[in-house]
Amino acid sequence: MAISVPADAATIFPPHVFDQVGRAVQDQLFDRLADISDDLNTIGDKGFKPRLADRWEWSRDSLSVAFHINPRARWHDGQPVRASDVRYSYRIFTDPKVGSNVTSEISTIDSVSVRDSLTAVVWYKQKRPEAFYDFVYQIYIVPEHVYKDIPPEQLRTSDVTRKGIGSGQFRLARWDAGQRLEIVADTANYRGRPKLDRVVWSMVPDAGAALAQLLNGQADFLEFVPPDQLRLVDSSKADRTLPYPSLQYAFLGFNLVDAKDATRPHSIFGDRQVRRALSMALDRKAMLQNVYGTFGRMSYGPFPRSLSYADTTLHLLPYDVNAAKVLLDSAGWREPSPGAVRQKNGRPLRFSLTLPLSSRPRVAFGVLIQEQLRRIGAQVDLDQVQGKYMRRAFQLQIDDAPAVWLYDLSTVAGIQRRIHPTVLRADGWSIHLPDWTIPPNERIARDRVGLGGATP
């Protein structure tokens, strides 16, 4: 099977993996101790099914859990999987010298010990409903014997991490960086032979070319087809579309604190009335339909609609341009002349909205928001940032005022790692749309939901 993707994985070494492709490949090559079931229940361990561990038991005080590793599990190089591998995996995931991406999310774990060669015990600092999830979901088990001779700080640059030796149902066959990555079935796997023999990710950066490849049979699978082009796929004989609900949602985030002094409120967004006015000026329904056609769903809060606990009874601010204008007037932002940019004490109602160029839907929302806010006298500058990467302005925020960006969405477990704040700028503000590839859920800021907000 050939999967067409826009960009290559940066790495497939689990502690460093961060992009979509890397994640997908890692899921095939490596195993977690247990897997989340389809109901996505992350509380306790009821929702988990065995993977590398065939069973586990909690200690009486619920502060430790012992995992029994499947005795038939083998690494791709033939060595058996041992409890010491679990301990080693925990160590490299938490070692600051390795620089893992998930270290902050597994801080509730105290340590991992080895009871016998097939039993690893995970110790927690405190009880938490999602304690089990924290360890099991975040930590992929990697083979100690492969990596142990490499100093931790060199793992990032070591070629060994590109060999992808794991215990998953597929093994890495070939990886031509930037071109293709191929995995093949691990025929002797403890979980049995997978149904596919080979899977190839091939990198096609141009979206039009990727679609053409899908339609002429060069590629078998393309994850994202823009709604506008769906009928091309529908009308082809070989391909069919398969809509699936996404665990992602999008929102507009406001930067609530002053860029220079994080203890002071933001000069525009610090005012709740202004935030309400800006929200009310946006026709969320129309924008959603514009970008996603009939596939998007309005969200009612910071959670995807597909989740069982999504609450659709929450009150949303109405779309009411006139009310928005009145609100702005009363907040002191007035139009010097009809149609001009509003001002307050000589400061124009002007701010920038940062978007990644790589995401067409988000760029589309940016353009729509820009025009709708222009109609109520707010000037929005779009900062389109290249790729997945941030600008200096953003670093300033991150490095100098980390508190602004601390958020913990683990209650919406599973999507937590997906939230990439994309954003803002020293003079102002932030828009914050999480990363997504498949659209169905989307939401544009409801008041007070700045994830970036330091205020509750």
């Binding site: 979206a207 039009g208 679609l211 823009p226 506008d228 082009q229 009928r231 091309l232 026709d283 129309a286 924008m287 339909q289 514009n290 160029l357 067409r360 760029v363 589309a364 940016g366 353009v367 729509l368 820009q370 025009e371 709708q372 222009r374 500058d381 779009l382 900062d383 389109q384 940032v385 290249q386």
Partner: protein, 313 residues
Amino acid sequence: MQPPIRVSAPAERLAASGLASAVTSAQIPPDEPARARRTPTALWWSLAFIVLLCLIALFAPLLAPYSPNEQLDIVGLKTRPPSFAHPLGTDQYSRDLLSRLLFGARISLSVAMLAVLLSATVGTAYGLVAGYLGGRVDAIMMRLLDACLSIPRVLLLVALLALWSPVPLGALIAIIGFTGWFEVSRLVRAEVLSVMQRDYALAARALGTPGLRIVWRHVLPNVLTPVFVAATLGVANVIILEAGLSYLGIGARAPTASWGSIFFDGSDAFQTTWWIALFPGLAIIMTVLAFNVFGTALRDALDPHQLAGGDAR
């Protein structure tokens, strides 16, 4: 004005500059054949087209039925094919494509012309200085130029614009302009060298005319013609370049309409909403073609013997 004697065959140019790589340009558009008879027609047609374009750009606000950034109805009027109300259709944000194209002419043409003006000025100055001073200074300046010419311009531009993005329009013009003058200065320097060898320049020098004055009175006028031709061809190239940068999403900043950015908006969905990408694409091709025809026709009209000169992409 005395017709400039231009070194034509590469071998002679080698002798003039001491370096084979001094041969001016690689990308020389083919010319209109049978020049003597046909050139004026091509010249006038292309000139007329360019003037028309400039007028359109100038009077875009009067000609355009809508404001270029106005989103008319983001649900009802999204990606409408060409119709009576919207002759070129609407884009995915329900903006009138004709209006955007008319306003886009302003950005595309002004970016190209200003950038080329900048590179022509810098290039002429650099070439004059190098050619006039000669000797070691000239050699150093030429090596520097070789280095600049060897950096793949597109790669460098993309890297710069992407790493510094978002770049305001002024900076975009400056960056394009400052990476485009190398060819011009080469051309100018060769011209200076040949003019300085000519009788009247030698005579003026023998009479004790100050150097600057020789440059001003004799060299500059001779240089301006080829520079103008190169600039015309340069405009064509910069329009393509700007379109390419916009195609990568790092050209003009949204919602500013330039032909490149409109094309970018439509390029993904070419197979379904073809009109969004097709019309700006045609506008680019026709304009570039007009400038190329004008440039080559002009060159042939002014100097039937010259083979090279122009601007590399």
